[in-house]
Amino acid sequence: MLDGRGSVKRKLGARLWLSGTWLGLMAVLALLAPWISPHDPLAQDLFAGRLPPFWLDGADPAFLLGTDSLGRDVLTRILHGARIAFSVALIAGLATAFVGSLLGLLAGYMRGWVDVVISRLVEIWMAFPPVLFAILLIAVLGTGLTSIIIAIVVIDWTRFCRVVRAEAMNQSAMDYVSSAIVAGRPRRDILWREILPNVLPTIVALLTLEMGIAVIVEAILSFVNLSISTDAPTWGGMIAEGRTSIHQAWWVLAFPLGVLFLTVLSFSQFGEGLKDRFDPVLR
Protein backbone atom coordinates (compact mmCIF):
# COMPACT_ATOMS: atom_id res chain seq x y z
CA MET A 1 0.00 0.00 0.00
CA LEU A 2 2.74 2.42 0.96
CA ASP A 3 4.73 1.44 -2.11
CA GLY A 4 1.70 2.06 -4.33
CA ARG A 5 1.31 5.52 -2.92
CA GLY A 6 5.00 6.20 -3.45
CA SER A 7 4.79 5.34 -7.13
CA VAL A 8 1.68 7.49 -7.53
CA LYS A 9 3.63 10.34 -5.96
CA ARG A 10 6.56 9.82 -8.32
CA LYS A 11 4.25 9.81 -11.32
CA LEU A 12 2.65 13.04 -10.15
CA GLY A 13 6.03 14.60 -9.62
CA ALA A 14 7.16 13.73 -13.14
CA ARG A 15 3.94 15.19 -14.55
CA LEU A 16 4.38 18.48 -12.74
CA TRP A 17 8.05 18.69 -13.68
CA LEU A 18 7.60 17.90 -17.36
CA SER A 19 4.69 20.25 -17.92
CA GLY A 20 6.25 22.94 -15.73
CA THR A 21 9.52 22.77 -17.66
CA TRP A 22 7.78 23.16 -21.01
CA LEU A 23 5.67 26.07 -19.80
CA GLY A 24 8.69 27.76 -18.21
CA LEU A 25 10.70 27.31 -21.39
CA MET A 26 7.92 28.75 -23.55
CA ALA A 27 7.46 31.67 -21.16
CA VAL A 28 11.17 32.52 -21.33
CA LEU A 29 11.22 32.18 -25.11
CA ALA A 30 8.14 34.39 -25.33
CA LEU A 31 9.80 37.06 -23.18
CA LEU A 32 13.02 36.97 -25.19
CA ALA A 33 11.38 36.58 -28.61
CA PRO A 34 12.38 39.98 -30.01
CA TRP A 35 16.04 39.35 -29.18
CA ILE A 36 16.49 35.69 -30.02
CA SER A 37 14.31 35.40 -33.14
CA PRO A 38 16.43 34.91 -36.26
CA HIS A 39 14.18 37.12 -38.42
CA ASP A 40 11.50 39.81 -38.34
CA PRO A 41 8.10 38.09 -37.84
CA LEU A 42 6.47 40.31 -40.46
CA ALA A 43 9.28 40.40 -43.03
CA GLN A 44 8.11 38.87 -46.29
CA ASP A 45 10.40 37.46 -48.92
CA LEU A 46 8.42 36.15 -51.85
CA PHE A 47 11.54 34.56 -53.35
CA ALA A 48 11.95 32.47 -50.19
CA GLY A 49 8.32 31.30 -50.00
CA ARG A 50 7.44 27.82 -48.73
CA LEU A 51 10.99 26.76 -47.94
CA PRO A 52 10.97 23.38 -46.16
CA PRO A 53 12.50 22.79 -42.69
CA PHE A 54 16.27 22.28 -42.44
CA TRP A 55 16.44 18.49 -42.85
CA LEU A 56 14.58 18.40 -46.18
CA ASP A 57 15.95 19.01 -49.66
CA GLY A 58 15.88 22.59 -50.85
CA ALA A 59 15.98 24.04 -47.34
CA ASP A 60 17.79 27.24 -46.46
CA PRO A 61 19.66 26.87 -43.13
CA ALA A 62 18.76 30.47 -42.31
CA PHE A 63 15.14 29.33 -41.94
CA LEU A 64 15.36 26.37 -39.53
CA LEU A 65 11.69 25.43 -39.58
CA GLY A 66 11.02 26.68 -43.10
CA THR A 67 8.91 29.59 -44.33
CA ASP A 68 5.23 30.16 -45.13
CA SER A 69 3.81 31.10 -48.51
CA LEU A 70 4.84 34.74 -48.06
CA GLY A 71 8.40 33.77 -47.11
CA ARG A 72 8.04 34.60 -43.42
CA ASP A 73 10.17 32.55 -41.02
CA VAL A 74 8.06 29.91 -39.23
CA LEU A 75 10.34 29.68 -36.16
CA THR A 76 10.32 33.46 -35.65
CA ARG A 77 6.56 33.59 -35.93
CA ILE A 78 6.14 30.73 -33.44
CA LEU A 79 8.33 32.57 -30.92
CA HIS A 80 6.45 35.84 -31.37
CA GLY A 81 3.16 33.93 -31.32
CA ALA A 82 4.13 32.62 -27.88
CA ARG A 83 4.17 36.22 -26.60
CA ILE A 84 0.58 36.73 -27.70
CA ALA A 85 -0.56 33.30 -26.50
CA PHE A 86 1.01 33.68 -23.05
CA SER A 87 -0.23 37.25 -22.57
CA VAL A 88 -3.76 36.16 -23.38
CA ALA A 89 -3.44 33.08 -21.16
CA LEU A 90 -2.21 35.08 -18.18
CA ILE A 91 -4.51 38.09 -18.34
CA ALA A 92 -7.66 36.27 -19.48
CA GLY A 93 -7.03 33.39 -17.06
CA LEU A 94 -6.64 35.69 -14.05
CA ALA A 95 -9.60 37.87 -15.00
CA THR A 96 -11.85 34.85 -15.57
CA ALA A 97 -10.76 33.30 -12.29
CA PHE A 98 -11.48 36.55 -10.45
CA VAL A 99 -14.97 37.12 -11.87
CA GLY A 100 -16.06 33.47 -11.73
CA SER A 101 -14.70 32.77 -8.26
CA LEU A 102 -16.19 35.94 -6.81
CA LEU A 103 -19.66 35.07 -8.10
CA GLY A 104 -19.22 31.43 -7.07
CA LEU A 105 -18.17 32.37 -3.54
CA LEU A 106 -21.09 34.76 -3.16
CA ALA A 107 -23.60 32.21 -4.48
CA GLY A 108 -22.23 29.34 -2.40
CA TYR A 109 -21.89 31.29 0.83
CA MET A 110 -24.78 33.75 0.78
CA ARG A 111 -27.31 31.27 -0.67
CA GLY A 112 -30.86 32.67 -0.91
CA TRP A 113 -31.78 34.95 -3.79
CA VAL A 114 -28.13 35.70 -4.64
CA ASP A 115 -27.61 32.02 -5.33
CA VAL A 116 -30.85 31.76 -7.32
CA VAL A 117 -29.91 34.69 -9.57
CA ILE A 118 -26.32 33.56 -10.15
CA SER A 119 -27.26 29.92 -10.72
CA ARG A 120 -29.95 30.89 -13.20
CA LEU A 121 -27.40 33.05 -15.05
CA VAL A 122 -24.99 30.11 -15.19
CA GLU A 123 -27.75 27.93 -16.62
CA ILE A 124 -28.58 30.50 -19.30
CA TRP A 125 -24.89 30.74 -20.21
CA MET A 126 -24.60 26.96 -20.48
CA ALA A 127 -27.32 26.99 -23.14
CA PHE A 128 -24.99 28.72 -25.62
CA PRO A 129 -22.44 26.88 -27.72
CA PRO A 130 -19.26 28.55 -26.37
CA VAL A 131 -17.43 28.88 -29.69
CA LEU A 132 -20.43 30.52 -31.33
CA PHE A 133 -20.79 32.83 -28.34
CA ALA A 134 -17.12 33.80 -28.60
CA ILE A 135 -17.37 34.57 -32.31
CA LEU A 136 -20.51 36.57 -31.69
CA LEU A 137 -18.82 38.61 -28.95
CA ILE A 138 -15.81 39.36 -31.14
CA ALA A 139 -18.18 40.53 -33.86
CA VAL A 140 -19.66 42.91 -31.26
CA LEU A 141 -16.43 44.05 -29.62
CA GLY A 142 -14.28 44.20 -32.73
CA THR A 143 -11.00 42.36 -33.18
CA GLY A 144 -7.93 42.87 -31.01
CA LEU A 145 -6.30 41.45 -27.90
CA THR A 146 -8.57 43.28 -25.45
CA SER A 147 -11.69 41.96 -27.18
CA ILE A 148 -10.37 38.40 -27.04
CA ILE A 149 -9.66 38.71 -23.33
CA ILE A 150 -13.09 40.19 -22.62
CA ALA A 151 -14.75 37.46 -24.70
CA ILE A 152 -12.93 34.71 -22.76
CA VAL A 153 -13.98 36.21 -19.42
CA VAL A 154 -17.60 36.63 -20.52
CA ILE A 155 -17.84 33.05 -21.77
CA ASP A 156 -15.82 31.10 -19.25
CA TRP A 157 -16.60 32.66 -15.86
CA THR A 158 -19.21 29.91 -15.42
CA ARG A 159 -16.46 27.28 -15.28
CA PHE A 160 -15.08 28.83 -12.06
CA CYS A 161 -18.45 29.85 -10.73
CA ARG A 162 -19.92 26.33 -10.75
CA VAL A 163 -16.95 24.67 -9.08
CA VAL A 164 -16.25 27.41 -6.54
CA ARG A 165 -19.94 27.64 -5.62
CA ALA A 166 -20.10 23.91 -4.85
CA GLU A 167 -16.81 24.08 -2.94
CA ALA A 168 -17.92 27.13 -0.93
CA MET A 169 -21.14 25.30 -0.04
CA ASN A 170 -19.14 22.29 1.18
CA GLN A 171 -16.84 24.46 3.26
CA SER A 172 -19.76 26.44 4.75
CA ALA A 173 -21.18 23.21 6.16
CA MET A 174 -17.97 22.41 8.02
CA ASP A 175 -17.41 22.73 11.75
CA TYR A 176 -14.78 25.46 11.56
CA VAL A 177 -17.30 27.73 9.87
CA SER A 178 -19.95 26.95 12.47
CA SER A 179 -17.52 27.74 15.27
CA ALA A 180 -16.57 30.98 13.56
CA ILE A 181 -20.26 31.88 13.46
CA VAL A 182 -20.68 30.94 17.12
CA ALA A 183 -17.64 33.03 17.95
CA GLY A 184 -19.55 35.96 16.49
CA ARG A 185 -17.23 36.68 13.57
CA PRO A 186 -18.87 38.89 10.93
CA ARG A 187 -20.09 37.07 7.81
CA ARG A 188 -17.79 38.96 5.47
CA ASP A 189 -14.84 38.05 7.64
CA ILE A 190 -15.75 34.35 7.53
CA LEU A 191 -16.07 34.42 3.76
CA TRP A 192 -12.68 36.06 3.10
CA ARG A 193 -10.58 34.72 5.96
CA GLU A 194 -11.99 31.24 6.49
CA ILE A 195 -13.65 29.99 3.32
CA LEU A 196 -11.57 31.67 0.60
CA PRO A 197 -8.21 30.25 1.80
CA ASN A 198 -9.71 26.76 1.73
CA VAL A 199 -11.17 27.20 -1.76
CA LEU A 200 -8.00 28.79 -3.13
CA PRO A 201 -6.22 25.53 -4.13
CA THR A 202 -9.20 24.61 -6.30
CA ILE A 203 -9.15 28.05 -7.89
CA VAL A 204 -5.42 27.84 -8.64
CA ALA A 205 -5.77 24.40 -10.25
CA LEU A 206 -8.71 25.64 -12.35
CA LEU A 207 -6.69 28.72 -13.30
CA THR A 208 -3.98 26.73 -15.05
CA LEU A 209 -6.64 24.75 -16.90
CA GLU A 210 -8.27 28.03 -17.92
CA MET A 211 -4.96 29.36 -19.24
CA GLY A 212 -4.78 26.40 -21.61
CA ILE A 213 -8.35 27.07 -22.71
CA ALA A 214 -7.55 30.75 -23.27
CA VAL A 215 -4.71 29.78 -25.62
CA ILE A 216 -7.13 27.56 -27.57
CA VAL A 217 -9.82 30.24 -27.77
CA GLU A 218 -7.28 32.71 -29.13
CA ALA A 219 -6.23 30.12 -31.71
CA ILE A 220 -9.83 29.39 -32.70
CA LEU A 221 -10.61 33.07 -33.12
CA SER A 222 -7.46 33.60 -35.19
CA PHE A 223 -8.55 30.61 -37.20
CA VAL A 224 -11.90 32.14 -38.11
CA ASN A 225 -9.99 35.32 -38.84
CA LEU A 226 -11.43 37.26 -35.94
CA SER A 227 -8.40 37.55 -33.69
CA ILE A 228 -5.94 40.40 -34.10
CA SER A 229 -4.92 41.04 -37.65
CA THR A 230 -4.12 38.54 -40.35
CA ASP A 231 -0.54 39.75 -40.32
CA ALA A 232 0.19 39.41 -36.60
CA PRO A 233 2.10 36.25 -35.69
CA THR A 234 -0.47 34.22 -33.74
CA TRP A 235 -0.42 30.43 -33.52
CA GLY A 236 -4.03 30.25 -34.63
CA GLY A 237 -3.39 32.53 -37.58
CA MET A 238 -0.39 30.42 -38.62
CA ILE A 239 -2.51 27.29 -38.34
CA ALA A 240 -5.26 28.85 -40.44
CA GLU A 241 -2.74 29.84 -43.09
CA GLY A 242 -1.14 26.41 -42.96
CA ARG A 243 -4.53 24.72 -43.33
CA THR A 244 -5.01 26.31 -46.75
CA SER A 245 -1.58 25.27 -48.06
CA ILE A 246 -1.36 21.95 -46.24
CA HIS A 247 -0.72 19.90 -49.39
CA GLN A 248 2.12 22.16 -50.57
CA ALA A 249 3.78 23.05 -47.25
CA TRP A 250 2.73 20.87 -44.29
CA TRP A 251 5.31 22.47 -41.98
CA VAL A 252 3.46 25.79 -41.90
CA LEU A 253 0.64 23.94 -40.10
CA ALA A 254 2.54 21.19 -38.29
CA PHE A 255 5.06 23.22 -36.24
CA PRO A 256 2.70 25.77 -34.68
CA LEU A 257 0.22 22.93 -34.16
CA GLY A 258 2.84 20.86 -32.32
CA VAL A 259 3.80 23.79 -30.08
CA LEU A 260 0.15 24.59 -29.38
CA PHE A 261 -0.52 20.92 -28.58
CA LEU A 262 2.34 20.67 -26.07
CA THR A 263 1.45 24.00 -24.46
CA VAL A 264 -2.23 23.15 -23.98
CA LEU A 265 -1.33 19.67 -22.75
CA SER A 266 1.17 21.15 -20.28
CA PHE A 267 -1.25 23.72 -18.90
CA SER A 268 -3.81 20.99 -18.31
CA GLN A 269 -1.37 18.47 -16.83
CA PHE A 270 0.15 21.18 -14.61
CA GLY A 271 -3.33 22.00 -13.33
CA GLU A 272 -4.19 18.35 -12.74
CA GLY A 273 -0.84 17.83 -11.01
CA LEU A 274 -1.44 20.82 -8.74
CA LYS A 275 -4.92 19.55 -7.91
CA ASP A 276 -3.47 16.22 -6.77
CA ARG A 277 -0.65 17.95 -4.92
CA PHE A 278 -3.21 19.96 -2.94
CA ASP A 279 -5.25 16.82 -2.26
CA PRO A 280 -4.68 15.99 1.42
CA VAL A 281 -5.32 12.27 0.86
CA LEU A 282 -2.47 11.95 -1.60
CA ARG A 283 -0.25 14.38 0.25
Binding site: V131, I135, I246, L257, L265, S268
Partner: protein
Amino acid sequence: MKLLRAILVRLMTMSVTLIGAAVVVFFVIRVVPGNPIAMMLPPGATEDDVARLTALYGLDKSIIEQFWIWLTGVVQGDFGTSISLRQPVMPLVLGRLPATLELAIFALVIAVVLGGALALTGVRHRETRTETAVDVANGVGLSIPDFLWALILIVLFGVLMPVFHISGRISPSLDLPFVTQFYVFESVARLRFDLWWDLLKHMFMPALALAIPLAAIISQLLKQSLKETMHLDYVTLSRTKGYGENHVILSEALPNAVLPTLTLIGVQFTFLIGGTVIIERLFSYEGLGNMAIDAVINRDLPLIQGIVIVFALLFTLINLAVDMMYALLNPRLRHA
Protein backbone atom coordinates in the same frame (compact mmCIF):
# COMPACT_ATOMS: atom_id res chain seq x y z
CA MET B 1 -46.88 12.31 -8.61
CA LYS B 2 -43.54 13.53 -7.33
CA LEU B 3 -41.94 12.76 -10.67
CA LEU B 4 -44.67 14.66 -12.50
CA ARG B 5 -44.14 17.69 -10.29
CA ALA B 6 -40.39 17.48 -10.78
CA ILE B 7 -40.89 17.43 -14.54
CA LEU B 8 -43.22 20.44 -14.38
CA VAL B 9 -40.65 22.37 -12.32
CA ARG B 10 -37.99 21.42 -14.84
CA LEU B 11 -40.14 22.63 -17.74
CA MET B 12 -40.62 25.94 -15.95
CA THR B 13 -36.91 26.53 -15.37
CA MET B 14 -36.27 25.38 -18.92
CA SER B 15 -38.50 28.09 -20.36
CA VAL B 16 -36.89 30.69 -18.09
CA THR B 17 -33.47 29.58 -19.39
CA LEU B 18 -34.63 29.75 -23.00
CA ILE B 19 -36.18 33.19 -22.65
CA GLY B 20 -33.02 34.35 -20.87
CA ALA B 21 -30.89 33.03 -23.70
CA ALA B 22 -33.15 34.75 -26.23
CA VAL B 23 -32.86 38.07 -24.38
CA VAL B 24 -29.06 37.82 -24.10
CA VAL B 25 -28.48 36.98 -27.75
CA PHE B 26 -31.02 39.48 -29.04
CA PHE B 27 -29.54 42.43 -27.20
CA VAL B 28 -25.90 41.40 -27.62
CA ILE B 29 -26.13 41.25 -31.39
CA ARG B 30 -28.05 44.52 -31.60
CA VAL B 31 -24.84 46.19 -30.38
CA VAL B 32 -22.91 44.83 -33.35
CA PRO B 33 -21.45 47.63 -35.40
CA GLY B 34 -21.90 47.35 -39.13
CA ASN B 35 -25.16 47.75 -40.99
CA PRO B 36 -26.50 44.54 -42.54
CA ILE B 37 -28.71 46.52 -44.91
CA ALA B 38 -25.74 48.38 -46.37
CA MET B 39 -24.13 45.02 -47.14
CA MET B 40 -27.21 43.85 -49.09
CA LEU B 41 -27.48 46.74 -51.49
CA PRO B 42 -25.32 47.34 -54.55
CA PRO B 43 -23.09 50.40 -54.52
CA GLY B 44 -24.95 53.48 -55.66
CA ALA B 45 -28.20 52.65 -53.86
CA THR B 46 -30.12 55.74 -52.85
CA GLU B 47 -30.95 56.63 -49.27
CA ASP B 48 -34.56 55.86 -50.13
CA ASP B 49 -33.62 52.25 -50.94
CA VAL B 50 -31.80 51.92 -47.63
CA ALA B 51 -34.76 53.32 -45.70
CA ARG B 52 -37.23 51.06 -47.50
CA LEU B 53 -35.21 47.92 -46.85
CA THR B 54 -34.58 48.92 -43.23
CA ALA B 55 -38.31 49.25 -42.74
CA LEU B 56 -38.93 45.96 -44.53
CA TYR B 57 -36.77 44.10 -42.01
CA GLY B 58 -38.20 46.10 -39.12
CA LEU B 59 -34.82 47.55 -38.22
CA ASP B 60 -36.23 51.08 -37.96
CA LYS B 61 -38.22 50.26 -34.83
CA SER B 62 -36.91 50.49 -31.25
CA ILE B 63 -34.99 47.52 -29.88
CA ILE B 64 -37.72 46.66 -27.38
CA GLU B 65 -40.32 46.71 -30.15
CA GLN B 66 -38.10 44.56 -32.37
CA PHE B 67 -37.68 42.07 -29.54
CA TRP B 68 -41.41 41.87 -28.96
CA ILE B 69 -42.15 41.32 -32.67
CA TRP B 70 -39.43 38.68 -32.88
CA LEU B 71 -40.53 36.85 -29.71
CA THR B 72 -44.19 36.67 -30.73
CA GLY B 73 -43.02 35.32 -34.08
CA VAL B 74 -40.75 32.71 -32.47
CA VAL B 75 -43.56 31.42 -30.29
CA GLN B 76 -45.54 30.80 -33.50
CA GLY B 77 -42.54 29.15 -35.15
CA ASP B 78 -41.62 32.15 -37.30
CA PHE B 79 -37.99 33.18 -36.87
CA GLY B 80 -38.06 35.98 -39.43
CA THR B 81 -36.19 36.28 -42.70
CA SER B 82 -32.47 35.82 -43.19
CA ILE B 83 -30.88 39.04 -44.38
CA SER B 84 -27.95 37.51 -46.26
CA LEU B 85 -29.79 34.56 -47.82
CA ARG B 86 -33.19 36.28 -48.20
CA GLN B 87 -35.14 33.21 -47.14
CA PRO B 88 -37.19 32.45 -44.04
CA VAL B 89 -34.86 31.46 -41.17
CA MET B 90 -36.84 28.44 -40.01
CA PRO B 91 -36.49 26.27 -43.17
CA LEU B 92 -32.83 27.28 -43.49
CA VAL B 93 -32.09 26.16 -39.93
CA LEU B 94 -34.13 22.99 -40.23
CA GLY B 95 -32.35 22.21 -43.50
CA ARG B 96 -28.96 22.29 -41.80
CA LEU B 97 -29.86 20.82 -38.41
CA PRO B 98 -30.02 17.17 -39.61
CA ALA B 99 -26.42 17.30 -40.89
CA THR B 100 -25.23 18.53 -37.49
CA LEU B 101 -27.34 15.99 -35.59
CA GLU B 102 -26.03 13.12 -37.70
CA LEU B 103 -22.46 14.25 -37.11
CA ALA B 104 -23.04 14.62 -33.37
CA ILE B 105 -24.75 11.23 -33.04
CA PHE B 106 -22.02 9.51 -35.03
CA ALA B 107 -19.43 11.17 -32.77
CA LEU B 108 -21.36 10.03 -29.69
CA VAL B 109 -21.39 6.43 -30.94
CA ILE B 110 -17.63 6.55 -31.57
CA ALA B 111 -17.03 8.06 -28.13
CA VAL B 112 -19.10 5.42 -26.34
CA VAL B 113 -17.48 2.52 -28.21
CA LEU B 114 -13.95 3.91 -27.85
CA GLY B 115 -14.36 5.01 -24.23
CA GLY B 116 -16.10 1.80 -23.22
CA ALA B 117 -13.44 -0.37 -24.86
CA LEU B 118 -10.64 1.61 -23.18
CA ALA B 119 -12.27 1.39 -19.76
CA LEU B 120 -12.91 -2.35 -20.06
CA THR B 121 -9.34 -2.98 -21.24
CA GLY B 122 -7.99 -0.95 -18.34
CA VAL B 123 -10.06 -2.88 -15.79
CA ARG B 124 -9.40 -6.28 -17.35
CA HIS B 125 -5.65 -5.64 -17.09
CA ARG B 126 -5.67 -3.53 -13.95
CA GLU B 127 -2.43 -2.79 -12.15
CA THR B 128 -0.36 -3.61 -15.24
CA ARG B 129 1.33 -1.51 -17.86
CA THR B 130 -1.83 -1.71 -19.95
CA GLU B 131 -3.76 0.19 -17.30
CA THR B 132 -1.05 2.85 -17.15
CA ALA B 133 -1.27 3.18 -20.94
CA VAL B 134 -5.06 3.62 -20.68
CA ASP B 135 -4.56 6.27 -17.99
CA VAL B 136 -2.07 8.17 -20.12
CA ALA B 137 -4.40 7.98 -23.15
CA ASN B 138 -7.26 9.29 -21.00
CA GLY B 139 -5.12 12.12 -19.68
CA VAL B 140 -4.03 13.26 -23.13
CA GLY B 141 -7.51 12.81 -24.60
CA LEU B 142 -9.01 14.96 -21.86
CA SER B 143 -6.42 17.72 -22.06
CA ILE B 144 -6.64 18.40 -25.77
CA PRO B 145 -9.88 19.93 -27.08
CA ASP B 146 -11.67 18.83 -30.25
CA PHE B 147 -10.31 21.77 -32.28
CA LEU B 148 -6.73 20.54 -31.90
CA TRP B 149 -7.66 16.88 -32.45
CA ALA B 150 -9.32 17.92 -35.69
CA LEU B 151 -6.16 19.64 -36.93
CA ILE B 152 -4.00 16.69 -35.90
CA LEU B 153 -6.31 14.29 -37.75
CA ILE B 154 -6.19 16.53 -40.82
CA VAL B 155 -2.39 16.41 -40.84
CA LEU B 156 -2.21 12.67 -40.15
CA PHE B 157 -5.03 11.19 -42.21
CA GLY B 158 -5.70 13.97 -44.67
CA VAL B 159 -2.15 14.66 -45.75
CA LEU B 160 0.47 12.19 -44.54
CA MET B 161 -1.75 9.10 -45.00
CA PRO B 162 -4.67 10.35 -47.07
CA VAL B 163 -7.30 7.68 -46.35
CA PHE B 164 -10.25 9.83 -45.26
CA HIS B 165 -11.98 12.87 -46.71
CA ILE B 166 -11.22 16.04 -44.80
CA SER B 167 -13.72 18.32 -46.51
CA GLY B 168 -17.46 18.34 -47.15
CA ARG B 169 -20.35 16.04 -46.29
CA ILE B 170 -20.58 13.87 -49.41
CA SER B 171 -18.68 13.62 -52.69
CA PRO B 172 -20.10 16.31 -54.97
CA SER B 173 -20.01 14.04 -58.04
CA LEU B 174 -22.65 11.70 -56.62
CA ASP B 175 -26.32 11.95 -57.59
CA LEU B 176 -28.40 12.47 -54.50
CA PRO B 177 -31.85 10.86 -54.42
CA PHE B 178 -32.56 12.16 -50.93
CA VAL B 179 -35.82 13.84 -49.97
CA THR B 180 -34.90 14.47 -46.33
CA GLN B 181 -31.75 16.09 -44.95
CA PHE B 182 -30.97 13.02 -42.82
CA TYR B 183 -28.64 11.59 -45.48
CA VAL B 184 -27.13 8.80 -43.38
CA PHE B 185 -30.44 7.44 -42.17
CA GLU B 186 -32.09 7.84 -45.55
CA SER B 187 -29.26 6.11 -47.42
CA VAL B 188 -29.72 3.09 -45.16
CA ALA B 189 -33.49 3.17 -45.62
CA ARG B 190 -33.03 3.26 -49.41
CA LEU B 191 -30.42 0.48 -49.22
CA ARG B 192 -27.97 2.77 -51.02
CA PHE B 193 -24.92 1.55 -49.14
CA ASP B 194 -22.54 3.17 -51.65
CA LEU B 195 -23.84 6.59 -50.60
CA TRP B 196 -23.88 5.54 -46.95
CA TRP B 197 -20.23 4.57 -47.13
CA ASP B 198 -19.29 7.83 -48.84
CA LEU B 199 -21.10 9.78 -46.11
CA LEU B 200 -19.34 7.88 -43.34
CA LYS B 201 -15.96 8.40 -44.96
CA HIS B 202 -16.61 12.14 -44.93
CA MET B 203 -17.98 12.16 -41.38
CA PHE B 204 -15.36 9.97 -39.77
CA MET B 205 -12.61 12.58 -39.28
CA PRO B 206 -14.78 15.38 -37.84
CA ALA B 207 -16.75 12.87 -35.74
CA LEU B 208 -13.56 11.33 -34.36
CA ALA B 209 -12.20 14.77 -33.44
CA LEU B 210 -15.41 15.49 -31.53
CA ALA B 211 -15.38 12.03 -29.97
CA ILE B 212 -11.85 11.80 -28.56
CA PRO B 213 -12.28 14.15 -25.55
CA LEU B 214 -15.65 12.58 -24.71
CA ALA B 215 -14.23 9.06 -25.09
CA ALA B 216 -11.50 9.95 -22.59
CA ILE B 217 -14.05 11.26 -20.08
CA ILE B 218 -16.22 8.15 -20.48
CA SER B 219 -13.24 5.86 -20.17
CA GLN B 220 -11.95 7.59 -17.04
CA LEU B 221 -15.24 7.59 -15.16
CA LEU B 222 -16.37 4.13 -16.25
CA LYS B 223 -13.02 2.61 -15.34
CA GLN B 224 -13.13 4.24 -11.92
CA SER B 225 -16.64 3.06 -11.12
CA LEU B 226 -15.89 -0.42 -12.50
CA LYS B 227 -12.87 -0.70 -10.23
CA GLU B 228 -14.95 0.37 -7.24
CA THR B 229 -17.64 -2.17 -8.11
CA MET B 230 -15.06 -4.95 -8.46
CA HIS B 231 -14.42 -4.74 -4.71
CA LEU B 232 -18.07 -5.25 -3.74
CA ASP B 233 -19.18 -8.47 -2.07
CA TYR B 234 -21.52 -9.66 -4.79
CA VAL B 235 -18.71 -9.48 -7.34
CA THR B 236 -16.44 -11.50 -5.06
CA LEU B 237 -19.29 -13.98 -4.65
CA SER B 238 -19.67 -14.51 -8.39
CA ARG B 239 -15.92 -14.97 -8.60
CA THR B 240 -16.02 -17.67 -5.91
CA LYS B 241 -18.78 -19.31 -7.91
CA GLY B 242 -16.09 -19.85 -10.51
CA TYR B 243 -17.07 -17.36 -13.21
CA GLY B 244 -14.25 -16.11 -15.40
CA GLU B 245 -12.90 -12.57 -15.17
CA ASN B 246 -14.57 -11.49 -18.44
CA HIS B 247 -17.97 -12.70 -17.24
CA VAL B 248 -17.51 -10.98 -13.87
CA ILE B 249 -16.64 -7.65 -15.47
CA LEU B 250 -19.22 -7.64 -18.27
CA SER B 251 -22.23 -9.29 -16.63
CA GLU B 252 -21.79 -8.49 -12.94
CA ALA B 253 -19.81 -5.27 -12.51
CA LEU B 254 -20.73 -3.34 -15.67
CA PRO B 255 -24.54 -3.08 -15.16
CA ASN B 256 -24.02 -1.53 -11.75
CA ALA B 257 -21.15 0.71 -12.71
CA VAL B 258 -22.69 2.20 -15.82
CA LEU B 259 -25.26 4.60 -14.33
CA PRO B 260 -22.98 7.54 -13.38
CA THR B 261 -21.33 7.28 -16.80
CA LEU B 262 -24.71 7.46 -18.56
CA THR B 263 -25.60 10.68 -16.74
CA LEU B 264 -22.22 12.16 -17.57
CA ILE B 265 -22.58 11.26 -21.25
CA GLY B 266 -25.81 13.23 -21.38
CA VAL B 267 -24.24 16.39 -20.00
CA GLN B 268 -21.11 16.02 -22.10
CA PHE B 269 -23.17 15.45 -25.23
CA THR B 270 -24.27 19.10 -25.13
CA PHE B 271 -20.60 20.14 -25.03
CA LEU B 272 -19.96 17.89 -28.01
CA ILE B 273 -22.77 19.56 -29.97
CA GLY B 274 -21.31 22.96 -29.05
CA GLY B 275 -18.02 21.74 -30.53
CA THR B 276 -19.60 21.06 -33.91
CA VAL B 277 -19.58 24.81 -34.62
CA ILE B 278 -15.82 25.06 -35.14
CA ILE B 279 -15.32 21.43 -36.27
CA GLU B 280 -17.80 21.88 -39.13
CA ARG B 281 -15.88 24.98 -40.13
CA LEU B 282 -12.57 23.11 -40.16
CA PHE B 283 -13.92 20.29 -42.32
CA SER B 284 -16.17 22.48 -44.53
CA TYR B 285 -19.08 20.32 -43.35
CA GLU B 286 -22.42 21.80 -44.39
CA GLY B 287 -24.08 21.89 -40.98
CA LEU B 288 -25.69 24.39 -38.65
CA GLY B 289 -22.42 25.51 -37.03
CA ASN B 290 -20.79 26.37 -40.31
CA MET B 291 -23.88 28.37 -41.23
CA ALA B 292 -23.72 30.12 -37.84
CA ILE B 293 -20.17 31.39 -38.44
CA ASP B 294 -21.16 32.69 -41.87
CA ALA B 295 -24.19 34.36 -40.32
CA VAL B 296 -21.99 36.19 -37.79
CA ILE B 297 -19.52 37.27 -40.49
CA ASN B 298 -22.42 38.54 -42.65
CA ARG B 299 -24.09 40.31 -39.70
CA ASP B 300 -27.25 38.31 -40.46
CA LEU B 301 -29.11 39.10 -37.23
CA PRO B 302 -32.30 37.02 -37.71
CA LEU B 303 -30.32 33.96 -38.77
CA ILE B 304 -27.90 34.22 -35.81
CA GLN B 305 -30.85 34.50 -33.41
CA GLY B 306 -32.61 31.53 -34.98
CA ILE B 307 -29.52 29.30 -34.83
CA VAL B 308 -28.64 30.24 -31.24
CA ILE B 309 -32.20 29.58 -30.07
CA VAL B 310 -32.23 26.19 -31.82
CA PHE B 311 -28.93 25.27 -30.12
CA ALA B 312 -30.22 26.45 -26.74
CA LEU B 313 -33.45 24.47 -27.20
CA LEU B 314 -31.45 21.38 -28.15
CA PHE B 315 -29.19 21.72 -25.08
CA THR B 316 -32.04 22.18 -22.62
CA LEU B 317 -34.00 19.28 -24.16
CA ILE B 318 -30.98 16.98 -23.82
CA ASN B 319 -30.51 18.01 -20.20
CA LEU B 320 -34.18 17.33 -19.52
CA ALA B 321 -33.95 13.92 -21.18
CA VAL B 322 -30.87 13.07 -19.10
CA ASP B 323 -32.61 13.99 -15.86
CA MET B 324 -35.66 11.92 -16.76
CA MET B 325 -33.54 8.98 -17.83
CA TYR B 326 -31.63 9.17 -14.56
CA ALA B 327 -34.87 9.19 -12.59
CA LEU B 328 -36.15 6.19 -14.52
CA LEU B 329 -32.96 4.15 -14.28
CA ASN B 330 -32.05 4.86 -10.68
CA PRO B 331 -34.12 2.56 -8.47
CA ARG B 332 -33.61 4.79 -5.44
CA LEU B 333 -35.26 7.72 -7.24
CA ARG B 334 -37.85 5.58 -9.02
CA HIS B 335 -39.38 4.38 -5.78
CA ALA B 336 -38.96 7.61 -3.90
